[in-house]
Symmetry: C2
Subunit: 314 residues, 2 copies
DNA sequence: GCACTTATGCTCTGAGTTAGCATAAGTGCA
DNA sequence: TGCACTTATGCTAACTCAGAGCATAAGTGC
């Protein structure tokens, strides 16, 4: 046991620590979910230290994102707070407080790059045949699981549950668990070299600075879970949209297809949207009605928001 | 706008800040949900600064709770991170990272007080007729809402949604929103004096140090939400229990009654528990079977855990 | 005019919930 | 001993909702 110093509550002035705000900012660009990143070749998330003048953690996050990318955020929610020991060897320690922000990309003024989620976490996209999963990841996970006899059963079950192997269903919101499993099994570049399998064929997907890809996974997980019970998708949509566009957005976020007719029914019966009377005819087929999000629902119900179907066929 | 100093990511050594861990530790004592508190007369939650030697935020929280209360925690999950400007006027700033812990109170060795949730947040208990709500809180909220003509509609709707007035349903997990509404309307002792209504009759419930009651509300909200989709109730139960005890626990947590037969069916059909073969006959009625939580389910399914009924009649 | 695409309406079916009815098996007391 | 009362447990009718499929509408491109 290390020395805890036997400090008690009261002497709140602890040792020197710095707090960093980290933003996972999401928008749909060309019908693909993207994250706002900075830097080449290793992308990183917008981030900055908490300064004495900042009014609140949330305000600080907004300011840093604005300063670094020129974009003003709308929706913003706290994700998670990390404090990794390994980050800096020195005596100061960094606590990272991560946030999830949702916007529309239309502001042409900003800088920073919109990177596609699925170029960063490719295995999360199962809208088409997930050959990446079945052909490259699954065999390697099984090998990793079996490589340690005493843990094999446990590991195998964990892989099966998180990646939907064998008879387990694919669960879209286990994004973080999947990333961590890949990390632990040495299949991503961020994994500690010691954990790497001897003949490992690293899983594709661009790594990010530090543990930013983990923060991204946390954000994606939260977003996928949340679209199921709160009307947050609309934060990513233009003011007016067709139900087809909305469905495309949900499918892109969830990384999975949904049954069109059921999707429409669910959206309509919940009074989440209202008809604008206009139609959009550039659809390539029958023109679609244009709808608008009924912002009032945010006040009307604190919960029981957007229920979204989980089925898979179109 | 204040001076942001135009620091960019990279110079991570921000200004002096201290990080504090705050623990909301819950256990069932005499069939009532309780929180572990310290100090008299104003109770506070166990807390302590993050020190350089701490391995992780979670480990630090465990250590502080152990040191201050002599109790070892089992289940522990992060709740939320706050940074209130008003806390200390000086140049250092405190970031509070709160955790929710679940235990059983059996260890007689510890110190600290188990305080009943509902002595701290009495309006949250609607198992019996909620006269506190209907007779004292509701009228005052309506008055507050009406006191500002231009905001009356909005405020009234907010009150109705969060407290289940008019035709809105009571939503057990809006604990935090209810506390914040009471805070903003000047009905709790913690409210800024300026917000207090001229003839306010403060709502009963023991206040705590600083914003600890807010952290408690956050914990209760999380717990209420989580028992609905993850098997966390069992962390609060003795190793063996009857379904009646389990139901009592759930009802006490949710602050609301559930339909007994449906509850039993739900628990059983999900394979969450296994029969021990023993019976408990001190029930005052027909003896009940003793069950044990099947810990394996924690591995078997990452989600789709304990579904609990939401109905209200017994 | 025809093939193709997307939009939209409607229905069948099965699963899961809510709410009761009914019975079992103890305890406490007249 | 028997009755009132309590808690435990089994079972089912009514209802709600999600999943899946059938069918039609109304555009575009050739």
């Amino acid at each position: 046991m290390f020395d805890r110093g036997f400090q008690r509550h009261g002497d709140e002035a602890g040792p020197v620590i710095s707090a960093e705000l980290l933003a996972v900012v999401v928008a749909m660009v060309d019908d693909e979910p993207c994250v706002l990143t900075l830097g080449e070749p290793q992308p990183r998330l917008p981030a900055g230290p908490l300064l004495p003048g900042h009014r609140s953690l949330q305000a600080a996050t907004r300011l840093w994102v604005e300063e670094q990318t020129g974009r003003r955020l709308g929706y913003l929610e706290q994700l998670y707070t990390f404090a990794d020991l390994d980050r800096d060897g020195g005596s100061t320690r960094t606590v990272s407080i991560s946030y999830l922000g949702l916007t529309t990309p239309n502001a042409e003024t900003g800088f920073g790059d919109w990177r596609r989620w699925y170029s960063l976490l490719p295995w999360e996209d199962v809208r088409s045949e997930p050959t990446l999963l079945t052909e490259r990841i699954e065999p390697q996970l099984r090998e990793w699981a079996g490589s340690e006899k005493s843990l094999a059963g446990e590991r195998l079950q964990r892989c099966a549950v998180t990646f939907g192997l064998d008879d387990h269903p694919w669960q879209p919101d286990l994004v973080l668990q999947r990333y961590e499993l890949l990390y632990e099994s040495g299949l991503v570049p961020e994994s500690p070299p010691a954990w790497r399998q001897p003949d490992a064929d690293l899983v594709p997907g661009d790594p990010m600075v530090g543990d930013h890809r983990r923060a991204l996974a946390t954000g994606l997980a939260r977003l996928r879970a949340k679209i199921g019970y709160r009307p947050v998708v609309f934060e990513l949509m233009a003011p007016e949209f067709t139900l087809g566009q909305l469905q495309d957005c949900v499918e892109a976020l969830a990384g999975r297809a949904v049954h069109t007719q059921n999707f429409r029914r669910l959206i309509e019966q919940q009074d989440l949207v209202e008809d604008t009377g206009k139609v959009e005819s550039r659809t390539g087929g029958r023109p679609a009605r244009l709808y608008r999000f009924r912002r009032e629902v945010l006040q009307e119900r604190q919960a029981a928001g957007t229920k979204l179907p989980t089925g898979r066929s179109r």
